[in-house]
């Protein structure tokens, strides 16, 4: 599921409430019937900002979640190596983040989150700071990784094409004060080819429908 809307409408706030970082002023958040108080277990979070630990190598960044859970030794090594392979980061295992590009750092952040198999993945504009090319690459990878595990993903973005590329369902929010304006089911087949799908008429039709609604919010009163 992707949430789109103008900046300041509260997209990130929704995500932070889901992640237990912000307490809702009214109402309550439940995950599988359990109310959220504090950071819930089984939830992974990928920030827009670079949150890779600069003092740890790629390998030890990805190992963090396993380390916290007490997964050590050969088991830890195996899972980290697998994640590094999936992210195409072979050869950079012992590099410090300062030597990597923004796209590679975000890959590390993504794999660091996925390596502990979260049931729910919260992503707050994770590719917002990347250039178009890198972004497309990571879209492809995310779709591929997701296809294997099929976790629930809540993805915040202000980029409509990104939302359509990735999501099954798109929530459009209004300008501040943010409300849900529309929930749209993306009827595009999977697996998706991030490049080719954009040339299809279905894609253009979906884009047009949502843009018609979202555009009003950008236009102002």
């Amino acid at each position: 599921m992707a949430i789109v809307g103008p900046s300041g409408c509260g997209k990130s706030t929704i995500l932070n409430m889901l992640g237990g970082l912000v307490t809702p002023s009214a109402g309550r958040i439940e995950i599988d019937g359990r109310p959220v108080t504090g950071v819930p277990p089984g939830v992974g979070y990928v920030f827009q900002k670079d949150t890779v630990f600069p003092w740890r190598t790629v390998r030890r960044n990805i190992a963090l979640g396993l380390e916290y859970r007490g997964v050590r030794g050969a088991e830890q090594e195996r899972r980290v190596a697998e994640a590094i392979r999936l992210a195409g980061l072979e050869g950079f295992e012992d590099a410090f983040p300062a030597t990597l590009s923004g796209g590679m750092r975000q890959r590390v952040a993504l794999m660091r989150t996925l390596v502990v198999d979260p049931e729910i993945l919260l992503m707050d504009e994770p590719f917002g700071a990347l250039d178009t090319h890198t972004k497309l690459e990571l879209h492809g990878e995310l779709l591929r990784l997701w296809d294997a595990k099929r976790q629930t993903v809540v993805f915040i973005t202000h980029d409509l094409s990104e939302a359509i590329t990735l999501a099954d369902r798109i929530v459009v929010m209004t300008r501040r004060p943010g409300r849900v304006k529309m929930i749209h089911d993306v009827k595009l087949p999977r697996p998706r080819d991030v490049i080719r799908m954009r040339e299809t008429d279905e894609y253009a039709a979906q884009y047009g429908q949502i843009w018609h609604v979202l555009g009003e919010e950008y236009r102002g009163p």
Binding site: P41, P54, W55, T99
Partner: protein, 272 residues
Amino acid sequence: MSREGRRVLAWQVGILVVLLGAWEWLTGIKAVARMPGLYWIDPFFISRPSAIAERFVHLMSGEVRLTLGAMALSTIQSTLCGFVVGVSTGFVAGLVLGRNDGLARICGPYIVAFNSLPRIALVPLVTMIFGFGLLAKIVLAWTIVFFIVFFNTFQGARSVDPDLIHSARFLGAGERQIMRTVVIPSALAWTFASLTPSISFALIGVVVGEFLGGESGGGLGYLIIQSLGTLNAADMMVALLTLGVIGIVMALGIRQVEMRLLRWRPEYRSRT
């Protein structure tokens, strides 16, 4: 060594030779020919390299009761002790107060008040309590080093990026794990910035302690005060030069440790 490095070294050695040569030469010119005791620049006050070298050999030899080596050792020992104790206590206190707002607010005024005391004013009190020996010197060095390291670590612990803490929490970290894997590494960069000034200040604390400490405290500070008593500029220069060498060696040592522990920072990697 690179070409650039060799050129820098050549200049450094050249400047040293010129300075020492000028010093030796200028203090040898008499104001009035064949009149003893009247110099343009009087070696009585600033001595001369040849005289200093002579005293250096003499002070190193076994002919004196307290050799230069023994005095230097005493100074180094107290400096390192004061430094280690000051850094470790300052670091822990900085972390604890840095991560605990309530406690920081309560302790804040006391720390600022104590830190604004000129440390030299404490020397008589410390001497009264801890005597003239090693312990007093260590305590003096500690009173300075503690605060430098404390304030830096405190800032470092406060400025830890909250998103790094959040991401650790999402990865399943408990409070202690957050401390160990996020707060401490992040604060360390700040702490290290305070170590080079800390070792110099530790040396200051120790030498001031030795001024008052007398022979039982030993050390190069004692040699300086003793030379003042005998108006012996050459001995004083020996002590000062030795202090300078000790200061440089200690600062280089810290730099090595720093480069090793902070090798994740780009500005350190390029220089290895």
